[in-house]
Symmetry: C2
Subunit: 416 residues, 2 copies
């Protein structure tokens, strides 16, 4: 657990500066007056901090505009924005099956991308070398000064030891055990590396430059090979007492249901991950269910995989829709539980396994959130599909770099 | 939602002082050296803050003791403790059926108590008058200087508007609507009043002087007429973006199950509150289930109420145990979900409806937490029964006063 510690003036100065930068980022464009109003800092403090941000090149000032509002023709205000070219980050998403990389600027815009397929026998050193290659490629393709790259962010599935920079037993990569991927990648790229699990990285990406720019409390449900989660509570990434929070995939949705590898039964992941959906579809086909997939299944059951299932559901195939609608109902149950438990503003659905049926899931969750949480009459928890979709992991990985450098983090304000 | 704001020097000074006081409280007895170590503050800052706490009478210093440890006969250390008589608080628990009051000292020790039965026709003004009477009685019985009473805390079931001091539609009190109980009680007692829902108050009480003194992340499951919850995350009460978090009773445990008044189906509260347990027992008895309760049920079904059911279960009656074990399993499912979602250190079970079967619930939750959360090999989430039991609400209510005055609150550090 994080002990309860005090703070001091230098930490407060740094925290306040990051609050100002983060407020400029979240508003897109703003003024010193609005910043003082939003952050509660005095006009003088804002003025000092903005001067520093301008001289560091992190923020730029647009020409003066005539001020609007009731007071009319007062002193003209200038508009402050984050300077997108002030810094860049490489984001690498390491997923079973492939490695994808993006270069993004400080505003979160994608500059260049790269993707490599990987095989299950890939060894850690080779993986790090491949990631290094991907990083160099996106920097080269981005035609930006390499010195402006602030670092490399790496998003991985499954558990991570952040203190030690270890990836722990990634799925489908036999014999990996505990791999010091952070230091391997640091060596291979020459940049500082920040590592996190893909669901948390996706949440940080959504906050930095996506749907949740201005949202203090939200949950990210990441649908990949498994189902992961990320949480922002009170404007901070919530990691839990031992950094294992937001295991949304392991909330029970079928009490006493099928065993999950985690030790629990009837977990969302155990019944709603792509493999479980495919298994149910195969079972229904085996039992003679009518479906456009029946022919493919008879020819070769492996042809009815998760993409085929989702595509069929999207085209209205009833058997495929049975499976997708069942998953949608279970996602809705989990979403209502999260809303009742955490009273957040937004739930984001993202990740590669949403496929073409993301909208079916979104609609089911939206309907549940409108009608079932106990506080729905006081405020509604909204739900949205991440616009990042397939790139959510890599964009999130890049955001890890900006988050570490620029987010106002209580864990830093209140650290030894 | 709480916007992201900066902070300033006076707020930091106040925060640091409260961190020091809170650390002394949580450790019971400590030294300046240990305080510096725990809080990360410099020896000089600790020295200044402790001097102020001593001169304010909030902390007392025991005679110097020879220092122990590897350095041997260094400078003798003195021991710092919270001064229990420095301040008192009245806690009032307003529950369907009765009003109970306690006077506690700053260490959380109960000095005196009072209890009044109330009827469902009680009107708000009469309730406030009765609470005022209860407050005066516990202060008089406590034989302490009334000036040392820092305030009155009030714990109520159900939703509360803390900003406005309103109790919203309390259960079983027809026609109450939105009642300004905070100001009514302030008038009636002459003390400042702090109001919160009973589950959150119980969590704050557990943190102030109970099982969770030194726990940064825990959940309180409050079993009363309904099932409520309280959350501490990262050493702070977690209230959610709109102050409606921790509705643990409204997590789904029977997907598609019976309707709950909240709008959801199969909520923990809907199937595991006392009324639901009694309904199931009646149903089983109706169907001829063998039980020591059968005779009482035939004579008058109302005799088989929740206390009778729990007492029978406690004595091993199989029909009653069927009901209690089913509730225990559902509590265990919710506990595993909380552990996976929030990665906390402790779950506390408390509240009047635990009755004599609290241990059955505790054991089922403990077994689930040992075997099912995904991070159980990294750390275990423990479970404990609140020692406050029936008084959890009133003790929690009193702690609201201390919490408001002395807890290091980020919501204050980071406020306008």
């Amino acid at each position: 657990m994080r002990p309860q510690v005090g703070t001091n003036l230098p930490k407060v100065g740094n925290y306040n500066q990051n609050v100002v930068l983060d407020t400029i980022r979240s508003l897109g464009a703003t003024s010193r007056v609005e910043l003082a109003d939003r952050t509660g800092l005095t006009a003088q403090t804002i003025s000092v901090i903005v001067r520093r941000l301008l001289s560091d090149g992190l923020v730029r000032e647009d020409g003066a505009q005539p001020s609007v509002g009731p007071s009319g023709g007062g002193k003209p205000r200038t508009t402050l924005r984050v300077e997108p070219t002030a810094g860049y980050a490489v984001g690498i998403h390491f997923d079973p099956g492939n490695i994808s990389a993006v270069l993004v600027d400080l505003s979160g815009r994608i500059i260049s991308t790269a993707e490599y397929e990987i095989h299950d026998e890939l060894q850690p050193e080779d993986a790090a070398a491949l990631m290094g290659r991907a990083a160099r490629k996106v920097i080269r393709d981005g035609r930006i000064p390499p010195k402006r790259v602030l670092g490399v962010g790496l998003a991985c599935p499954g558990p991570i030891d952040q203190d030690l920079g270890l990836v722990l037993f990634p799925p489908r990569l036999a014999g990996w055990g505990q791999v010091p991927l952070e230091s391997l990648l640091q060596e291979s790229t020459g940049y500082p590396v920040t590592i996190d699990n893909d669901a948390t990285a996706a949440a940080i990406g959504e906050r930095w430059s996506g749907l949740a720019r201005d949202i203090g409390g939200f949950a990210y449900i990441y649908m990949g090979t498994g189902i992961g989660g990320g949480l922002y509570l009170n404007n901070q990434v919530y990691r839990g007492s031992f950094r294992n929070a937001a295991e949304i995939g392991h909330i029970t949705v079928v009490p006493g249901g099928p065993e999950c590898y985690c030790g629990n039964r009837g977990c969302l992941e155990a019944v709603a991950c792509p493999a479980a959906m495919v298994a149910e579809a195969h079972d229904l086909l085996e039992r003679g269910g009518e479906s456009t997939l029946a022919k493919a299944y008879r020819r070769d059951p492996a042809l009815v995989d998760h993409p085929a299932l989702c595509a069929a559901a999207d085209e209205g195939d009833p058997l495929a829709r049975t499976v997708v609608d069942r998953v949608a109902r279970q996602l809705a149950d989990v979403a209502v539980g999260i809303a009742n438990m955490l009273d957040i503003e937004l739930i984001v659905l993202g990740g590669p396994a949403l496929g073409p049926v993301g909208e079916v899931y979104r609609a089911a969750v939206a309907e549940a959130l409108e009608s079932r949480p106990i506080a729905r009459r006081i405020h509604q928890t909204r739900v949205s599909l991440s616009p990042a979709a397939r790139d959510a992991g890599a964009i999130g990985a890049a955001s890890l770099v900006f988050h570490r450098s620029f987010a106002p983090q209580l864990a830093v304000l209140l650290s030894r």
